[in-house]
């Protein structure tokens, strides 16, 4: 075989080429090509995404990528959203900020998801990065409005401050006033998660008024309906707007003021907020509905007829989040009006009720799957489902990439045949060849996992609860799903065997969560000993796992690959299994 001469480039040329390669996946591939490419690539890497903050240490990242301007970190596992991860588990961002403060003085962007952020961290950010522009805290906690005040005051070029779904200690609404009068750079401001009733509205108005590039503004509940018009008139260039309370006594002048303000926003494409909606005010939106592509009504307790009317005005809708008040009839209307729909999320209005309070069944979803040819992403809460419906949905919509079905009562069978829903979900994975994310519910045996292992070749994330009969189920998934990155399981009879037989697979995944399953403490220890590139964490809030026999199942298990070794910031109820460090606590 003739040895071929490498196509050589000067470094600057390669850098130029790499500057057009932006996706993380491609950058990672580039850095694995050869030594010289790796070397060049690392010096010109500006954006880093770290899907698990414990998979690597800040120092390692800094050593490898010395010129980073933008970082994205994720902390707690997804099941933290369901209160399955105890408080204090971890996910602290301060060590990262502390290291980056010294190493990346020109850092511009920090995006965090499910991490614990303290006021100290925020103050450090404000102090350390002179050109700081973007702060996104998605589902974070641990900080207060004092920390926000520091950011507001110090970051002269702040473009984005997005606190979506975070828990903020709302000490005072006056933090907004810390934005200096000279701050005009804001492009995006999302304070929808703030609970306090006292938002300094005048400070907000002034801020909005002096930022001509503001494109996205999401207010919190405290902002009343009559104030919306004032805000909108100061920012008619908005593309994305989140209202506060959308309720008030119907007054004609308020209504017409509001309608006028909305109609002056010619670029507005996305709406959210809508706490406590008074339906009579919905027509104020009609002027912008024809342009709307995204509508989040997941807090709006409006009934189906009003929803139908609204939705029928939005033919360009691509994304809809709504409560199950929409009912089957509303979804049928959606299916006929909104042919561009790509994403649908239907949330339960009364999840704890024993009986259904609304007429929302599998029919609604079937209708949408039939009527909306571009539908790709579904999150659907309902109380009954059938295999036939699932098969129909799968056949109608093979282009689905995300399918998350939540039948509210665990182990609910097919309501027509009383059989498990294996066949239905099997059809989903078989037909939807690009399916990347799947959540299962209802009565399911090992068979469904056989289907998933056989067909789910592109599946990256799988969520399972109250399903399966034996280790076979888990084995099918671990051995069959080649693209699997995240697997989260609760209350399933999966034990040691499948886990140990597929131990090597775990190193190819980001993480595995198992709670209330049947994995024994002994197996956890074995795994921890034999797999040094994995952190095997046992979580138990009631007592240490070694106070029971080794064959006893552990309460919660979180396994993730890491090149940073075991972490050192664990609370007392988390134990890392390992070779040399044994039961590290």
């Amino acid at each position: 075989m003739q040895k071929k001469m490498a196509y050589s480039f000067p470094d600057e040329v390669l850098e130029q080429v790499f500057s057009f390669i932006q996706s993380d996946k491609d950058r990672n591939a580039v850095s694995l090509v050869c030594k010289s490419w790796d070397e060049i690539e690392r010096w010109c890497r500006r954006k880093v995404f770290i899907g698990n903050c414990y998979a690597v240490s800040p120092r390692m990242v800094i050593r490898r990528f010395p010129e980073v301007r933008s970082i994205k970190l994720k902390g707690k596992p997804h099941f933290a959203d369901f209160n399955l991860v105890p408080d204090g588990w971890g996910g602290y961002v301060l060590p990262w900020i502390a290291e980056m403060a010294g190493a990346y003085p020109w850092l511009e962007e920090i995006r965090l998801k499910r991490m614990v952020v303290t006021d100290e961290s925020l103050e450090l950010i404000a102090k350390s990065f002179k050109n700081f522009k973007v702060l996104v805290l998605f589902s974070c906690e641990g900080f207060s409005t004092d920390g926000l005040a520091a950011i507001a005051a110090s970051c002269k070029n702040l473009r984005e401050l997005d606190l979506r779904e975070s828990e903020v200690d709302d000490l005072s609404g006056h933090w907004l006033a810390h934005f200096p009068e000279t701050c005009t750079s804001l492009v995006s401001l999302n304070i929808s998660c703030l609970r306090s009733d006292e938002v300094s509205f005048s400070a907000l108005e002034r801020l909005v008024g002096r930022c001509p590039n503001l494109r996205s503004l999401r207010l919190n509940r405290a902002v009343t309906l009559d104030k919306i018009a004032n805000i909108l008139r100061r920012a008619p260039q908005l593309v994305d707007f989140g209202t506060g309370y959308y309720a008030a006594e119907l007054q004609p002048d308020v209504f017409s003021n509001l309608a006028g303000a909305f109609s002056s926003c010619k670029e507005l494409k996305s709406l959210s907020g809508f706490w406590d909606v008074v339906p009579a005010y919905l027509p104020a939106l009609y002027s912008i509905c024809p342009r709307l592509t995204s509508l989040n009504l997941s807090y709006a307790t409006i009934q189906s007829p009003d929803l139908i009317k609204l939705v029928s005005h939005c033919p360009r809708l691509q994304r809809l989040l709504v409560l199950d008040y929409v009912e089957d009839s509303g979804l049928e209307e959606l299916a006929s009006s909104c042919k561009d729909l790509q994403e649908l999320r239907v949330f339960p209005s009364d999840p704890f009720g024993a009986e259904p309070n609304v007429s929302l069944t599998e029919q609604g979803l079937v209708a949408v799957s039939l009527g909306c040819p571009k539908l790709r992403s579904v999150l659907y809460f309902c109380r009954r489902m059938s295999n036939a419906a699932l098969v129909t949905i799968a056949q109608n919509r093979p282009n689905l990439t995300r399918f998350r079905l939540c039948i509210i009562e665990p182990k609910t069978p097919d309501y027509l045949t009383l059989e498990p829903l294996d066949v239905g979900f099997g059809a989903i994975v078989e037909h939807c060849k690009d399916l990347r994310r799947l959540s299962l519910s209802g009565l399911l045996t090992d068979h469904v996992f056989e289907y998933i292992g056989t067909y789910g070749k592109k599946l990256e994330m799988l969520s399972v609860a109250f399903a399966g009969d034996s280790d076979l189920g888990l084995h099918h998934v671990l051995s069959g799903c080649e693209s699997l990155r995240k697997l989260e399981i609760r209350d399933c009879p999966f034990g040691d065997k499948a886990l140990l037989a597929n131990a090597a697979k775990l190193e190819t995944m980001r993480s595995l969560w198992m709670s209330s399953c049947a994995v024994s403490f002994g197996a956890c220890k074995l795994l921890g000993q034999k797999m040094p590139k994995l952190n095997v964490e046992v979580i138990d809030e009631t007592e240490p796992p070694d106070s029971r026999p080794e064959s006893c199942p552990v309460d919660k298990l979180y396994i993730y690959r890491s090149v940073a070794g075991p972490r050192f910031d664990m609370p007392p109820f988390v134990w890392t299994m390992g070779e040399a460090v044994r039961i590290l606590h």
């Binding site: 057009f20 090509v33 704890f352 665990p410 109250f466």
Partner: protein
């Protein structure tokens, strides 16, 4: 007519050509407006007065061979005409860029040496598109690059210096833990200790392996019962309430809404020791000598480990999985792995784990 005569008769015509020499020695003349489109040539002409005749031909960088020069000049010839529309230019570029990867690389290099930024951009983007979506192996194949990264470099190895502050902290925490375990052990010894029995009998395990799924369904963790408790304080407002807060966190199809919502409210059982790192500082110097007898064996019981190994093997064989390979992998981790973890000896000094001791 000789060249010189031509020069006398039509000076303008002669002046409108620039002389260029490529690295192989060959010289050619190029229309001035075309050549001057390249900043490097422009610089040579204006700053150094070169290129006006054969003898003063501009020496082009080595990366510009005659073939590449020809391509570049085609590009320049087209784009230097001012009247063209954007659409025309774009169309030309799209056709122009269609060539094999090798030429594309050469062209990028050549354009870069002539500082012709628009062409560098064009070719770089084309190369980027070739690279996107490909695996490292594929990229290596296309560009004939060596596979010279070591496994370690690919993985970013762990640091294992003994004075890594994390190791020190680790030792302190470990010391504290040992102390606690010892104390608990003392307390337990006072009570009558119940015999620890493996709850599952060997029969159960064998029947599982032989395909009787009966008992596996019934596996109930006593803890799972807690999750079925209904929350007492149901905030059942129709407006903003906990239920919506939970769904706001985008729950997926998991019944968390019913069952784990209350888990979040569950009061954490009083876990005594707070991992207050500052307290631990005091421990290490006091405890160093106390650790002599503290070699609590929390290693998995070898007999049980054997049993688990056997079961896993049987299970895998039953499933026709590639057990021997996997087992090899798992076992080999134990042997090849570089010892990067440390542990405390009985006397508190660090020692590395030699893997053979494990089994």
């Amino acid at each position: 007519m000789s060249e010189v005569d031509m020069a006398v008769i039509k000076p303008e015509m002669m002046k409108s050509y620039i002389w260029l020499q490529t690295a192989d020695g060959s010289i050619q003349q190029v229309e001035q407006e075309v050549a001057m489109f390249c900043p490097m040539i422009c610089h040579e002409v204006i700053q150094k007065g070169m290129g006006s005749s054969k003898n003063y031909a501009i020496s082009l960088p080595q990366r510009v061979n005659p073939a590449m020069l020809s391509l570049i000049l085609d590009y320049c010839r087209f784009h230097q005409v001012p009247g063209r529309s954007n659409k025309e230019r774009k169309s030309f570029d799209e056709k122009f860029i269609r060539m094999d990867t090798k030429r594309l690389c050469e062209l990028t290099s050549a354009a870069d040496s002539l500082q012709l930024k628009p062409l560098v951009d064009l070719t770089s983007r084309a190369l980027a598109r070739i690279i996107e979506g490909k695996s490292p192996e594929e990229i290596r194949e296309i560009f004939h690059l060596p596979d010279d990264l070591t496994e370690e470099e690919k993985l970013e190895p762990l640091k294992n210096t003994t004075d890594d502050p994390r190791i020190r902290l680790l030792n302190r925490l470990y010391a504290k833990k040992r102390k606690e375990l010892k104390e608990r052990q003392k307390l337990k010894n006072i009570e009558v200790e119940e015999e620890r029995v493996d709850d599952r009998s060997v029969d159960d395990l064998l029947s599982f392996i032989n395909g009787d799924n009966g008992d596996s369904k019934g596996i109930k963790n006593s803890k799972s019962k807690k999750k079925n408790r209904r929350r007492k304080d149901q905030q059942k407002n129709t407006s903003a309430n906990e239920a919506i807060k939970n769904h706001n966190k985008e729950p997926n199809g998991l019944n968390q809404v019913c069952h784990s919502a209350e888990v979040g409210q569950k009061v954490r059982a009083g876990v005594g020791a707070t991992s207050n790192l500052h307290d631990v500082e005091d421990d290490i110097f006091d405890n160093k000598n106390e650790l002599d007898d503290g070699d609590i064996d929390d290693e998995i019981d070898p007999a049980l480990k054997e049993k688990i190994d056997r079961e896993v093997e049987d299970f895998a064989r039953r499933l026709n999985s590639d057990w021997p390979e996997r087992m090899q992998e798992i076992l080999s981790f134990g042997h090849e792995r570089k010892p990067v973890h440390f542990s405390l000896n009985g006397n508190g000094s660090l020692r590395r784990y030699a893997n053979s001791e494990q089994r």
